[in-house]
């Protein structure tokens, strides 16, 4: 079976298992809303520039996204399912990409619900640059997902996994978050991507490509040593 079909089989499996309980997705969404509410006490909407609100949005995405990513490889732990996946004739790369894609879609779903909520709470007309904003969201989310998925595999057997994962991911994610924050801050206030911000777009693409390639290369070591 072709590589792409195996990726899709793994992705569909993860999505189906998650959507049946919606545990991670609901928790992540609820958490996103809670942070958005809490932030309102920190920021008085009137004197904070809307650009800064756009930056904060990525903190919400990163924090809430971790709840989804925590589950990625943890899902394989009960019943030793990971053994059966490693035993199956599927490459580590296909397994990794399938799981990453599933998490990516779940995090993206959370973000697409959180965005309008954010717009309403903070009175931001966020959709003025809709498609560029979607592009940035997709690129930023893929960066978060790739790092989150590979670290989810690294921390799969650890007792304090839920605590460990954010500590490991956020410093690593900093460049991608910075880029996404800068671009989103501009885009939600209606400023298009210009010559001085296109660097961030390049950074995001570079980050995504580099870490996807590195993860796919290293995943066999994580799975079989």
């Amino acid at each position: 079976m072709s590589f792409a079909r195996l990726v899709l089989v793994v992705m569909a499996k993860d999505l189906r298992a998650e959507l049946r309980t919606k545990e991670a997705l609901n928790a992540s969404l609820a958490f996103a809303v809670v942070i958005l509410v809490l932030l309102s006490f920190v920021i008085e909407s009137d004197d904070v520039p809307q650009k800064a609100l756009g930056n904060l949005l990525w903190l919400v995405f990163a924090f809430a996204g971790t709840l989804v990513l925590n589950r990625s490889f943890a899902r394989e732990v009960p019943n030793d399912c990971l053994d059966a996946l490693v035993a199956a004739p599927i490459s580590g790369a296909a397994l990794f990409l399938g799981k990453a894609l599933a998490s990516f879609l779940l995090v993206l779903a959370m973000e697409l619900v959180a965005l309008p909520v954010f717009g309403i709470f903070y009175n931001v007309r966020w959709a003025q640059q809709f498609w560029p904003l979607m592009l940035v969201t997709v690129l930023g989310t893929w960066g978060v997902t790739v790092i989150g998925t590979v670290f989810s595999a690294l921390t799969v057997n650890i007792r304090l996994r839920e605590v460990m994962l954010p500590m490991l991911t956020y410093p690593m994610l900093l460049p991608a978050l910075l880029g996404a924050m800068e671009l989103t801050g501009d885009l939600v206030t209606g400023t298009p991507i210009g010559p001085d911000t296109v660097t961030w777009l390049k950074l995001l693409v570079g980050f995504d490509v580099l870490f996807t390639a590195a993860s796919v290369t290293l995943i066999e070591f994580i799975l079989v040593g």
């Binding site: 195996l6 189906r16 309980t21 399912c81 053994d83 035993a87 004739p89 040593g225």
Partner: protein, 232 residues
């Protein structure tokens, strides 16, 4: 050619050798029973044969190739301590998933066939988390057999099985041997294992203390190998 060949294998946890210079082989159609105390290295050896972990030294070959080759993995069936099916998916979804991963031509049909063979067709759309223990185990057996592997690796297959699951498994194993497939199984339950086994290997502290054909006197007196070759 041997179906399973383990040549001079060492496996280390840090500096501690969990397997020391293990040499074993199982011919096609043979059933090799790995016996030994807890911590003797049975699980470590089976996992290394299945290709779950790399060995420190030595070579493992399944049907003449490395167990990490995708083509080889298609021929291996593994049952470990966990049932390796997903609680949030139904029995049919689980089997269809594995049929797809193994690239079988008709995943849905294969899943239904195996649900019938393991007596689970009535609950095929029930979620695994609602299953009883015995049903879960039969599903695990179906999961490991559905791609018709020519080499079966079973880690303590009879432990924690209920009577019906043991019956299902034993009849499948007998059929498999009759069809010329190879079985390597680890167990403490000597009686169940020795009835099936054609060969026996005793592991003591990561080393092979005895490796030879299973004789009728061993079947009659399962403790014999331990007394003769073990640590008493």
């Amino acid at each position: 050619m041997n179906a399973v060949a383990v040549e001079g294998v060492w496996k280390f946890y840090g500096d501690f050798p969990a397997l020391r210079d293990v040499n074993l082989e199982a011919a096609s159609g043979a059933c090799l029973a790995l016996i030994g105390r807890n911590g003797a290295g049975k699980t470590t050896l089976l996992r290394a044969i299945a290709g779950f972990s790399k060995t420190g030294k030595g070579v493992i070959k399944i049907l003449g190739t490395s167990p990490r080759e995708p083509a080889t993995r298609r021929n291996i069936g593994f049952i470990g301590h966990g049932i390796a099916v997903y609680d949030e998916l139904s029995a049919r979804e689980n089997l269809t998933l594995y049929a797809r991963l193994y690239g079988l031509p008709d995943p849905r049909q294969t899943a239904i066939e195996w649900l019938e063979r393991t007596g689970l067709e009535r609950v095929r759309d029930g979620l695994v988390r609602e299953f009883s223990r015995g049903m879960r185990q039969r599903l695990a057996v179906a999961r490991a057999f559905l791609h018709k592997p020519s080499v079966l690796l079973l880690d303590e297959p009879f432990t924690a099985l209920d009577d019906r699951a043991i019956a299902v498994l034993q009849s499948l194993l007998r059929d498999s041997l009759a069809e010329g497939r190879t079985i390597v199984l680890s167990t403490h339950q000597l009686r169940e294992a020795l009835e099936l086994a054609s060969d026996v290997a005793l592991l003591v502290r990561g080393q092979v203390a005895f490796h030879g054909p299973c004789t009728p006197e061993m079947v009659a007196d399962p403790g014999l190998v331990y007394r003769r070759h073990g640590e008493g």
